[in-house]
Amino acid sequence: MARDRKSPLKADLPLSDIREEGMVHVVTVRSPSCRGRITAVEVPRLPRGYRALGAGDIPGENQLPILGTEIPILARDRVSYVGEPILLVAGPDPDVLERIRQEVRVVVLEEEPILEWESFSTEQVLLERTAILGDPDKAFETAAEVLEARFRTESQEHLYPEPQGAFAAFEYDKLVVRCATQWPFHVRACVRSVLGVKPQEVVVRPTPLGVPMEGRLWYPSVLACHAALAAVLCGKPARILLSRDEDFRYTPKKARSLVALKAGVDSQGTLSVLDAKVVLNTGAYAPLASELLEQACLHAAGSLAVPNLRVRGYAVRTHTPPLGAFSGMGAAHTLFAVEAFANRIARDRQEDPLEWRNRHILRKGSVLITGEPLRDRTSFDAIGQRLKAASDFQRKYGSNELIRKRRSTSRSEEAPRGIGIAFGYQANGASLTSLSSESFTVEATLNKDLSLSISTSAIAGDEGIRAIWRSTAAGILGIPLGRIAVSEVDTGDVPDSGPSVLSRNVAVVNKLIERCCVTIRSRRFRSPLPISARSVHRPRNPLRWEKESVKGYPFESISCGGAVVELEMDPWNKEPRILGTWLCVDGGRIASERFARSTLSASTLSALGQCFRERLPIEAGAVSVDGYREYGLLSLAEAPTIEIEFLPWDETDPIKGIGELPFLCVPAAFAAAAEQASDLAIDRIPFIGEEFVTGELG
């Protein structure tokens, strides 16, 4: 049913545009300290119509179980990071609220915060995963050469098109909650729990999401609880909308990682063993730590098939704001490390990186770290060939190498060039450990007028996903695209289709739509219209990580990709300039090439920005006050040519998720190119050229 676009409870408006008569605004009083015990919260005398809400005012649960951990909606006794919400103040005038917020005095008896994470203590370890394939110790003993490297990825900001927030108001006997979320039923569950009411008393209607970068999975639920609490306790519609600065400083960011790699090669230069130690700094609380760590460990060997492999993964707690999901969830950390390492090994052995990879590439039947053979075909050979041809990789690589070697003897004023390649794969429909017992549903109805209504709570971040869903249904039922409608999401009307994360919209929801349509087709001329069908997805058993071994098959399917990055680097300030980027993707059947190309191109731009522009220093446990204003972005003016090629597919191939591939492949390709251009060891992204300039001068 189409929404009444005039009502703030239903209109398809961004959150910041939602206003209602009598609405109260909500601001948050936050922790000034990284760690400590709250000894006093002194609130000034509030004007009429204003109210302060603390943990003691919560009618239901304050500790929310969110994806494997518990997070206080408002800190009661202790604080664990700078900016942790302690008190809400609600009232009609945002300027008065801001003044009150400044006047509230929070006294914290500070304790020594734990900020170190690379050399972590056992008490910091939230999760530990170990997986072994073959006999790594023996393989290291017989290796002709052992190589080691450590790679780091720093935090990153999602930069949503609109800061995070939520709106809540009563509609008859129900509380309607509105926020930009990737998981509406999670919002409902959290609000229900905080208010101590029945699930059907809360309705969630999401607002437009924009490009979420996997960052709007759980945090909107926390803000929804804040808005809901204010709406219920003030008896008025309530909206909380963080300022850009607040959002930037205090909401979850991408987890930081350290990946220490040790490889053994034989006398032919063939990789015989790989040992990976993965450390993820997940900040305070760390929801999603298990998903991040599993994806990171699973991708520890990247596109390489290694007979002897050991992966040890640690998710580590620190007193910084929660650090967690970002596009390329978990996998991006290890893929950057292992693919950059592979390039370095090949270069040190004076081999073409593509040829070196071909000897090690992951293929169907290659045994994964889980002990299971890979069931999907991989297409890295074809991807490599196409990238080579499109970017003229081999010629450029060889010529840059020659120049690089000569550079050590003669200094040139010209900006040196580099080119790098990397591969990666995106796991489709990977199980979320914390969701392993849930099942998710999609419904479809063929109406009397032969139109089709698809009912799902999955959030399509852009029109491309809806185009895929409609195209799937149209293909099966033979009805025009214009007669297929995807319902507006309202948790009171649509079934729970789970979170829109990890390509689930394509790998899971699209499959459920397909099944519904096949059922409708089979009943088409046997039952009267309307015909409805319902399809339920039950996730596979999650990965069984054990201390010494791993069992299981962790995903529905994989999409393969590769990237080539060519750049030149200013010889004086070490500032890279991207000259070209090539991407080749095997994503099964591409439902809409236009949308796929556009998504990949936008993601590639973000991935390049992540490599050398988007710097988010976290110092003394906090993001700096000027963080947002100083956050560099790769602008469109700096955008290189981005060439994208899809491997051929046929109509029987499944549709797969591909949007994360740039985040998985581009950083390592960038690092290889930057290393070739600069002769520096690029073992951290973002790469900060001026650090090396300072080093040289010093």
């Binding site: 098109p161 437009p208 924009g210 300022s243 850009r244 600065d245 556009s598 936008a602 204003r629 469109l636």
Partner: protein, 162 residues
């Protein structure tokens, strides 16, 4: 202070502090929500408006600078013929900025085409760099602007030939 200015073709007046941001005046006083909630630093460009024909982030414009000026927001721009050819140009090129940045992208394009009726790719990218959104696909944006420029040029020629 009293601020008199021309907003979307109409003479308007409001009370504001001299330093109050134009973005806030437009959203709160005139309920023009197409000017997106801003970053207060000109960083994102989502609050773009034209001020005397120049595209500027409204969050960097203090109220006193608006006195006597002509301001056009996306709401006002939508009423113009220029908006139509930009919308159609983007549609024809199958370039779709997301709902958050679309207004700013279109206004920025209009300002560019006014100055450079046939912009080259680097000029287009430079111009659109004022607006940041993670949905941006450079190639399709360039296609969209060029297609809009083409439609605009045709219309201009048509008018000149009449």
């Amino acid at each position: 202070m009293k601020v008199d200015f021309i907003l979307n073709g109409e003479d308007v007046s409001c009370q504001a502090d001299a330093g109050e941001r134009l973005s806030r005046i437009l959203r709160d006083t005139f309920s023009l929500l197409g000017v997106k909630e801003d970053c207060r630093s000109g960083h994102c460009g989502l609050c773009l408006v034209t001020l005397n024909g120049l595209a500027v982030p409204a969050c960097l414009v203090p109220a006193f600078r608006v006195r006597g000026a002509e301001v056009v927001t996306i709401e006002g721009f939508k009423q113009t013929e220029d908006y139509e050819y930009i919308r159609k140009g983007f549609e024809k090129a199958e370039a779709e900025p997301c709902e958050f940045c679309r207004g700013a992208v279109f206004l920025s394009t209009a300002a560019l085409l006014e100055e450079r009726p046939r912009p080259e790719t680097p000029e287009i990218l430079e111009n659109l760099s004022a607006v940041f959104c993670r949905c941006h696909d450079p190639e399709s944006l360039v296609r969209g602007v060029k297609s809009a420029a083409e439609l605009r040029a045709r219309r201009m020629n048509f008018r000149a030939n009449r």
